[in-house]
């Protein structure tokens, strides 16, 4: 049984079929980008386990890569592989396994976002480009804000969200990738609270540019046994924050981009842009920053194609904002990727494997010629 399982899993056919399917996904995903946008296409075809075409479920990128990984690992269990003359093949397979493990780490744990810093100020937070979170912030204490944050994967209808720091429970009723507000004509339902007393939160078609989408969420607050209990709605970027008061605690509720707090801060000392001579077109940007860690500042210059790498994070010079009175703000793209080094290391391993395979088989090649 075990041997049979290894035989099926280690079949080269499985690898070839997976590779072919991967090529199909790349083609379909690339074509789909035009209609649904880069991020949505990436999520649907490459970062998914399954996707549907009509009622038909089809394997997504993650399943295909997992099959390829299983296939390569199973190959290692084959008895006839463990021979000296196949040492190169073994090393190449190990390199392939490493590449796929790195892809898995990147898929599950990596994140990317932006850090916006005005000249003279500092920041230690990264706002994710795509992922949202529901933040319930207890602002009652005069010394600090207490955040309780629920991530986007939990935004499924009917999901109950609870936390010991909260005086109430939350039940997700609806989550919209892109929403808009419409004024209510007449009176709203009795159970609606906050913004929903005056507005309907309506889902609209996703924009192909994910940055233009404004997610919305409708949820129920319960357990306060007061008139605070009811249905609330939030939309990303709303100007007036939603607040509730429960047991003498004041809570601010916000739908925001997922925030990552760093163990260090970046202070923008000076932002510089060089223009193409005689034009208003920028040639290059650079940010002179201080990397502040344990209250010790270290000067660093971030330029285009010269990012700052620190504690697993990479900060690229992405954009800038300039106000008419000369105040400048830098926009850094921040990427955290645990699997960053895997492609380099695995490529080296695979190259070594191919070299070993060639060296081991070289005498046999010469013999044949003779």
């Amino acid at each position: 049984m075990k041997r049979e399982l290894i035989r099926i899993c280690s079949s080269p056919k499985l690898f070839v079929y997976s590779l072919v399917w991967l090529m199909v996904l790349v083609t379909v995903g690339t074509v789909a980008q035009k209609d649904i946008g880069l991020y949505a296409s990436q999520q649907k075809y490459f970062s998914s386990y399954f996707f549907f075409i009509g009622p038909l479920p089809l394997p997504g990128g993650r399943v295909v890569l997992a099959l390829m990984l299983i296939n390569l690992v199973s190959m290692m269990f084959k008895q006839n592989l463990w021979k000296m003359k196949k040492i190169g093949v073994i090393v190449v397979h190990l390199g392939g396994i490493m590449l796929l493990v790195g892809a898995g780490l990147t898929a599950v744990f990596s994140s990317e976002g932006s850090m916006v810093i005005e000249e003279g100020s500092k920041s230690n937070t990264i706002d994710d480009y795509h992922i949202t979170e529901l933040a319930i912030i207890n602002v009652s204490d005069s010394n600090y804000d207490q955040y309780t944050v629920f991530g986007q994967p939990l935004f499924k209808s009917g999901n109950n969200l609870m936390h010991g720091d909260l005086d109430f429970d939350i039940t997700i009723l609806d989550y919209m990738d892109n929403a808009t507000l419409e004024p209510i004509q007449g009176s709203s339902s009795i159970g609606f609270k906050g913004m929903l007393k005056n507005f309907n939160l309506i889902e609209i078609d996703r924009d192909t540019d994910d940055m233009k989408n404004r997610p919305g969420i409708i949820f129920q607050v319960s357990g306060t046994f007061s008139d605070v209990d009811g249905v609330y709605g939030l939309i990303f970027g709303q100007s007036v924050p939603a607040t509730i008061n429960v047991n003498s605690n004041q809570y601010v509720m916000a739908l925001q981009k997922k925030k990552t707090y760093l163990p260090f801060a970046i202070e923008l000392e000076d932002f510089k842009k060089v223009m193409h001579p005689g034009t208003e077109v920028a040639k290059s940007y650079s940010s002179k920053i201080n990397l502040v860690e344990n209250n010790i500042p270290r000067p660093v210059l971030i330029e285009m194609n010269k990012p700052l790498r620190h504690e697993g994070y990479t900060f690229y010079q992405a954009s800038f904002i300039e106000s008419p009175n000369g105040e400048e703000t830098t926009v850094l793209a921040a990427v955290h990727n645990y699997g960053r080094l895997f492609p380099y290391i695995s490529s080296i391993i695979m190259s070594i494997g191919l070299l070993m395979h060639m060296l081991v088989n070289m005498p046999a090649l010469f013999k044949k010629k003779k």
Partner: protein, 191 residues
């Protein structure tokens, strides 16, 4: 062989860790932040609210000339500056009126600037204080095309939000910014 069984186990464990619900819930403390809670005006009755549109007051600079505007506008003014005349409009809409992000990005689109994120918007805005409460000022200037620029203020007052928008040139925004801010600060409600 054991090493490969170990690898398989580690991979299986990593796969399972992706399903942990608690890793999507976080609790932490941060230093106090201004959430703009003062922007929330007291909630008067709906009758009072409807009257604050018609009873809007402000201190008009001498050089500003009332003009006829769009039907949606509460008021319109022609504002002369050294290189032309700017167009100022005051509009009132219900509630958050689509939100700060959407409105600012709509204005940015009008001067051919690309949209920016919420955090970028808040970083480039300034806050002022009017007689009806705090407001935020946004400047939209496209350095490539300086012939169109906008300076706008958003004044939320509970169920209504007032938008004061000055459409002019880059030079106009620079020259008129100070007087624009003073005008916004003078806006009040006579009722």
């Amino acid at each position: 062989m054991k090493i490969f069984q170990t690898i398989s186990f580690v991979l299986f464990f990593l796969l399972l860790s992706g399903c942990d619900k608690n890793r999507h819930i976080q609790s932490y403390r941060t230093p106090k932040k201004d959430f703009g809670l003062q922007l929330e005006a007291p909630q008067p009755s709906s009758k009072t609210r409807s009257s604050d549109v018609t009873n809007l007051t402000w201190e008009l600079p001498d050089s500003w000339i009332p003009s006829t505007g769009h039907s949606m506008r509460l008021a319109s003014f022609d504002i002369p500056f050294s290189d032309g005349v700017g167009d100022l409009s005051i509009v009132s809409l219900g509630g958050a009126s689509g939100g700060l992000l959407a409105n600012v990005n709509r204005w940015r689109g009008q001067v051919n600037l690309s949209p920016i994120s919420e955090s970028e918007i808040l970083n480039v805005s300034t806050v002022g204080e009017s007689k009806m409460g705090p407001f935020r000022i946004f400047k939209m200037i496209n350095d490539v095309d300086t012939s169109n620029a906008i300076i706008a203020a958003v004044l939320p007052t509970g169920q209504k939000t007032f938008f004061i928008k000055l459409t002019t040139t880059k030079k106009g925004v620079i020259e008129l910014q100070s007087v624009f801010e003073k005008f916004c600060a003078s806006i009040g409600n006579s009722s």
